[in-house]
Structures are given as C-alpha cells and as structure tokens.
C-alpha cells in the first residue's frame, strides 16, 4: 500500500533524524537550553490518514510553513499548540501575542527549518533552498491539508517525516514535519542509494 520498502523508510527516517538533530542544536543555541529530539517517524500513509496522524484537525495551532525549492521540492512544517508557543516565546522573553511574538516565531521557524534543510542538503549532496517562512494561526487540519495538497499532488500516498523536539525542563514540545513531493522522495531515495 505504502509504495515504499522498509529499507527506504529507514533511510528516510535516518535523514530526518540528522535534520531534526541539527535543528534541535540550532534551537538549543538560541534559547540556551538542552533539546531532546525524538527518533523521527517515516510514515507513508493515504492522505486522509496522514492528516489524522498529525493530530486533532480541529484544534487551533500555530504553523510555520517553509517551502523548499531546488533539486527536491518539499514543505517543512512546524506545528505548535498555544501552550508550546507561549513557552517558546517565554524562553525568548517576548509575549506570544502581538507583533513581537509573531516575529519571534517566524525567526525560530527560519532558523530551525533552514538548519534542517541544510543538513538534508549536506547529507544528500542536493541543492536545496528554503523560501521565506509563512506563519499561520489556524486549524491543524487546514494547515496540514493545505501543505499536503500541493506536495502530494494527485498521489494517493503522502510521506510524512515526523520528529518531536522537546525543551529540557519545560513542558514544551513541537512537531517538525518534512513533506516532500513524490518526485522529491524519489530523488532523495536515489541519493541515499536505496532507489526503488
């Protein structure tokens, strides 16, 4: 059903692991706290299941959408619920609501996703370029589905590379997703030496 072998999903998971580890290090440098990065999941799911897998579609969350262009087209998506956003802004000393909070979240998104994408590029030898991040406050399902629509195209299966970052000593964690296009996944698998 998934269209990807276990070996391929393992290789993609390893890639996500290095990307999110690098992003975690960047965040740690920004806030001066240790960051735990979970072992990522690589999930190849039918689209409706992919939306459900990310969490309650009706819950209002903050999303940072970072389109990636170059040899692989993809979207990097970070999702924070209100408490996590408040926690993160608190560590940076800004109010989550208002212009400063928005700007801080965009900055975090920029730094985290850029380091994530750079790690991907370095590991695979692909030219990848992050575009400016888009900050959204909306329903989780609306954000995830709107990111999946252009990346998955008509394909029946979406690939989610999903990691959680947790700030040590705080009840604060957030989701980091890489949503490559179907052509992008093929290119990644080729570079990893596990093409189908």
């Amino acid at each position: 059903m998934s269209g990807y072998t276990d070996l391929q999903l393992d290789a993609l998971r390893e890639l996500a692991n290095i990307g999110s580890g690098t992003a975690g290090t960047a965040l740690s440098g920004m806030i001066g706290r240790a960051i735990d990065v979970s072992v990522p999941q690589a999930l190849a799911l039918p689209l409706p299941d992919a939306v459900d897998a990310v969490g309650d579609p009706g819950q209002d969350v903050t999303g940072i959408v970072l389109p990636v262009i170059g040899d692989v087209e993809a979207i990097v998506l970070m999702l924070f619920d209100a408490a996590d956003e408040a926690c993160l802004c608190g560590l940076l000393g800004v109010e989550p609501a208002g212009e400063l909070g928005r700007s801080a979240m965009s900055e975090i998104g920029n730094i985290l996703s850029a380091s994530y994408v750079r790690a991907f590029g370095a590991m695979t030898g692909l030219e990848l370029e992050p575009e400016p991040p888009i900050l959204l406050h909306d329903m989780r399902g609306a954000i995830v589905a709107s990111a999946l629509a252009p990346t998955s195209g008509g394909a029946g299966v979406a690939l989610l590379l999903d990691s959680d970052l947790r700030i040590e000593g705080e009840h604060c964690n957030f989701t980091f997703l890489l949503l490559p296009t179907a052509a992008g996944v093929d290119e990644l698998l080729l570079r990893l030496g596990v093409a189908g």
Binding site: L47, P48, V51, D52, P57, G58, D60, V65, P67, I75, I134, L136, H137, D138, M139, R140, G141, A142, I143, V144, A145, S146, A147, L148, A149, P150, G153, G154, A155, G156
Partner: protein, 165 residues
C-alpha cells in the same frame, strides 16, 4: 466526518456530515430538501491527472461522483442546492504556486455549472481555515472559521428557508 478526498451522503435526519479543518480544500455540500438527502465532498485538488481511485479528491471527478451518489439515494438534480465552503489561500499571497484554494473553488464551480446544479451559498477564499457541518434533517449548512464562532450559512434566513422549501 468526511476526511480529505472523501465524500458521503445521508438520508438520516439526525445525521451531521462534517469536514473539519478545510484550508485550501473545498467542502461541497449538496442538499435535496424534497428527498431528504444531503451529501458532502472534501475536495483537495482541481483536477485528476492520473486516474485516481478516489474521485472525491478532485473537483472534476468529485462533483459528478457526489451528484451520482445523491441520485442513487433518490435526489433529483434540478432540486439540488449546492453550498461551497473553503478554498482559502493558506500559504501566502495570491498567485503563490503552492496555493490551490482559488483553483479548487473555480474548478468546483465550473463542474457544478456543467452539471446544471445551482450554487445557493458560499463562504470561500480569504486566508483562514474553516469547518463545515451539514445537518441532514434540517438541510442546514453551518460554518466555523478558525478561532471564530459557528454561523449558519444556509439557509441564510427564515425568509429564504421558506422560499427554498
């Protein structure tokens, strides 16, 4: 709950069909008051490019598929009322290559026009996600925008309800 790319119909007066968290997707509700049938499709992209097994995902295949399913439950095409919700531009400025919301709405509207189904109400575009609920028995459509309250979209007022009945 009608998830992305899915469609459903119902004749159960107590049933509520819902599509939660529509962003660039379009929720298409069809109602036949005379037959007591309602349906909802959660359309994701304007057109099928590859012979998908899931017609509900695309406007060009989803609209005829939902009309057929309605007809199979006794609905008449001439009595159908169509309500559109969603098609927001979630990912930034107009013309962004990633934004399929406006194209989804346009493709859904043209497929309805081709099928001869009238659009009686719409809450589309903008930049916010929405949830749509279709109350089958009452033939009502309600919308909730992200962070907002639930509003009745169709019928718009008691006067219009009378006119539609």
């Amino acid at each position: 709950m009608i998830r992305m790319g899915e469609l459903a119909t119902s004749t159960d007066p107590g049933a509520v069909l819902a599509a939660i968290g529509l962003g660039s997707c379009v929720g298409l509700a069809l109602i036949d008051r005379g037959a007591g049938v309602a349906g909802l499709a959660h359309i994701m992209l304007p057109a099928d490019t590859g012979g998908s097994l899931q017609p509900g995902k695309f406007a060009d295949t989803g609209v005829p598929a939902l009309i057929e399913r309605m007809a199979a439950r006794g609905a008449l095409r001439v009595r159908l009322e169509a309500v559109l919700v969603g098609g927001a531009q979630m990912l930034g400025a107009a013309g962004n290559r990633l934004d399929v919301g406006a194209r989804n709405e346009a493709a859904t509207r043209s497929a309805l026009t081709r099928a001869g189904v009238r659009i009686v109400a719409a809450e589309t575009g903008g930049t916010a996600g929405r949830t749509v609920r279709v109350h089958v028995g009452r033939g009502e459509v309600s919308v909730k925008e992200a962070g907002g309250a639930v509003t009745a979209l169709w019928p718009a007022s008691p006067a219009q309800m009378g006119a539609a009945a």
